[in-house]
Symmetry: C2
Subunit: 266 residues, 2 copies
């Protein structure tokens, strides 16, 4: 199983503390060793780094940690391959241009029978079920809305399209266009919204940070992760069929999730 990491904030934030703990799971504290990828939005542009070496030992991941890029929206993924070869084109996150914006997507789980739709607007480049599902999402959105609709309409449409895909497997994902982030859960997805008063956080590898030294009182930073990255914060566990639409570090729209608890996907 792969692991997801997302960040959505109201001020450009350095994700290093979370990313360092997260990427240790790629080979050190866990077994997700088939590559990693991370996308940082910067204005309408996006910086993407991918490596098919384990996150924990990749020199690319090391350089990223040292670069301390600040961003409002970040999506990262470490991979344990279940479908598709271990190569660059199969490494999350995936990106497509939709309505003149970069859309970025990463998935954890396996969905069956999405298939390649040859008449669709967007075609997969690699061979993963995840990229095929993402192409289906953006193709259907473009079909439904040739011009960009409101954020609420986007959220509703994403829920509609992805609920159908999720019937065929485990569909935990994070999706962002650089303005907002949508998180969707089948089995495992957690989030924590950090805001004032900021305190200390203790990572699962026992590294700690005092956020109050790095933040302003108005800052809001939401971190989304497959498993909580800190031991002493109040992470919300999402339910099966749950969706959250985050913007500026806040929950804007939410569907709590009413499906029976999904079986863990091994």
């Amino acid at each position: 199983m792969c692991q997801l990491l997302g960040m959505n904030c109201n001020t450009p934030t350095d994700i290093t503390f979370s990313f360092d703990g997260f990427r240790r799971r790629g080979g050190l504290t866990d077994h997700h060793t088939d590559g990693f990828g991370i996308a940082f939005f910067e204005g309408k542009g996006v910086r993407v780094f991918r490596d098919n070496r384990p996150g924990a030992s990749s020199p690319m991941a090391e350089a990223i940690s040292q670069y301390q890029i600040k961003s409002l929206n970040v999506i990262a993924h470490i991979r344990k391959a279940t479908r598709g070869d271990v190569n660059l084109e199969n490494t999350h996150p995936f990106i497509r241009e939709l309505w003149g914006e970069n859309w970025v997507f990463a998935h954890n789980g396996t969905v069956e029978g999405v298939g390649v739709c040859e008449e669709c607007h967007y075609q997969p480049i690699g061979t993963t079920d995840s990229e095929a599902a993402f192409c289906r999402i953006v193709s259907e959105l473009k079909e439904m809305y040739p011009a960009k609709p409101s954020e609420k309409e986007i959220f509703d449409a994403v829920v509609q399209i992805t609920s159908r895909i999720a019937e065929h497997g485990v569909f935990n994902f994070v999706l962002s266009n650089g303005h907002w982030m949508i998180a969707r859960c089948t089995t495992n997805l957690h989030y924590v919204c950090r805001k004032a008063p900021f305190g200390k956080a203790l990572r699962d590898d026992d590294v700690s940070i005092d956020f109050s030294q790095y933040t302003k009182i108005t800052d809001k930073v939401t971190i989304i992760a497959t498993q909580p990255l800190t031991k002493n914060e109040n992470w919300t566990k999402m339910k099966n069929g749950g969706y959250v639409f985050f913007k500026d570090g806040d929950v804007v729209y939410e569907i709590e999730g009413t499906l029976p608890e999904a079986q863990p996907h091994v």
Copy 2:
């Protein structure tokens, strides 16, 4: 004016020697200081690095040089902004998925009145004439050929579409899908095909390399650049309206260019 660099080979090749000389023009030996970008194909995937800092002093460019990535197709660009702000989404090379492939494009010059076609398949994310022109190319290709045609048909269609765009300005570009590379010239574009017997090359900043120490007898490496990067090799200067389709380091299709010599673009 910006500068272009392309590489097309029959064996994965490290572009460091050429890239190092090229990026020195971003701030050291020339004045292209408004960012740089480089895309390395790796299988069907593509690794892209962009920075809006000058190529010569960017830590990102430094890391790339040290990483010594080997690739069959590379496109790089250093920018002196003429249209569009200096930011990440306006930094070449631009990428879109077409027929399930990554298409990568970088442009030197300025083309007028391409405009944004709102019904078109592909929309620009930034505000450059270059990205608008690229979106026009891939949109028209997809319109002409819903499924991927032969390489000759692609070359002919690219010539047809881009000759029309080139009527409205200076349109030097390199374009690749990871299998081949098309170069198109209005004012300045040169190439050199390196093959056995390999000798020494002397860069314009007087750094030299002996390619015979790094190559096999069957290797073919073509370098395309706005201006020749070495002093002692036989670079072919392309003519106004000229096109070359390179594959595996060889010229496969060529249109010599019959238009009157274009005025230098300042």
